[in-house]
Symmetry: C2
């Protein structure tokens, strides 16, 4: 059985989980706490990061793009990269945008402060980081509005890895109610469509005991 | 004519330049200073980062993986991703390792301190960052030694994007003599083979007036 080492608030793990669900590919989830630096896990992925996918034939895959490109090459349809090199260029550009730029400017700051420091008590919280993430997310939501005003989905007419990447990041931040949806109605409409997908409904079922999620976190009609 | 917006010490720009040279694909270089946030450049890439590739048909590509995957799908041979999904998984895993992990733990710290702050006077330098990068690079060189002790090139028997990604990062750091080559002979041997390639010889020709490079920076026999 295929299995995926993941962590609740790791957006890259969520990206792979959404992709597997959308492709109806069975997978057993194994919760890995990367900061423990377990020896057995480091032998699977020396970088020490999740997600790590282990295929039925024991092939080990790590690196989020590496995993998603592999799923695209060998896994079930539908295809989330797009049909032409030009569309794939746009899908990959936006996937990098969210996997990297949004992650560094928003998700990583929020998760580090609210989960790693606040909940797991690994260091002292710094309110300035949360404020900084709160400023940054507005630019990203504005960009999502720019895109969805012109296109059905973020990278074009089809649902793609661009949407999956963005939803994976945003869902981690939205757990804490840190997305100012009411000021960005087009972005809210896009995310409502994402939330109504069965794949996303399953992802949003995860709740962490002792860490309250925003009341509307799971609700597609928010 | 295809053109590439790049910046001297941007490892991602170097990665695309090496790829284009290795594939014998002509390209005009345009130097872009991303921190200027030029309006015309932001219309090409709203994220504001280099590299940006503009193709003959005016197709605009940004995001390093997006550009390299596009070159692989539409550009000249040779192929640098590998022939099977399994090999491509390994090439992409290691490319992400260097593009992201090595960049965050080493290159970004060195370039930020020595170029952005030291040379361009954009902020006060912090010696602790350079020491931290100096510690981190040892782990990466050790990993390069682990890989090259078992394989001809980093991801397997063929020269690949894994080698190009690693060389692009390391060359930026090596400009300042910040790579402790003598303690890592296998890594040194691998980099000597990279340096002797005509593509890399061209990249290493770039020198910045007023910013002295290490004496052996260009020499394949160092």
């Amino acid at each position: 059985m295929r299995h995926l080492y993941h962590y609740w608030f790791c957006p890259n793990s969520r990206k792979v989980r959404i992709s597997l669900l959308e492709k109806s590919m069975d997978c057993e989830l194994i919760l890995e706490l990367p900061w423990k630096r377990r020896h057995e896990f480091l032998t699977l992925n020396p970088s020490g990061s999740v997600p790590v996918l282990v295929e039925d034939d024991d092939l080990i895959l790590s690196g989020t793009s590496a995993i998603c490109e592999y799923l695209e090459e060998t896994g079930n349809l539908p295809n989330f990269l797009g049909k032409t090199p030009t569309i794939r260029g746009e899908v990959r550009r936006l996937s990098e945008w969210f996997d990297s730029k949004f992650y560094n400017e928003v998700t990583n700051l929020i998760i580090n402060e609210k989960v790693m420091k606040g909940f797991l008590r690994r260091g002292n919280t710094q309110a300035a980081n949360i404020r900084f993430a709160g400023q940054n997310i507005k630019h990203h939501l504005k960009y999502i509005e720019y895109l969805t005003d012109r296109r059905n989905w973020l990278a074009g007419s089809e649902f793609s890895y661009a949407d999956i990447s963005a939803a994976a990041q945003i869902s981690c931040v939205d757990y804490f109610g840190d997305v100012p949806w009411n000021n960005f109605p087009l972005a809210k409409d896009w995310y409502a469509r994402i939330k109504s997908r069965p794949s996303m409904q399953l992802i949003l079922k995860d709740k962490i005991a002792g860490l309250t999620s925003a009341s509307y976190y799971r609700d597609p009609d928010f």
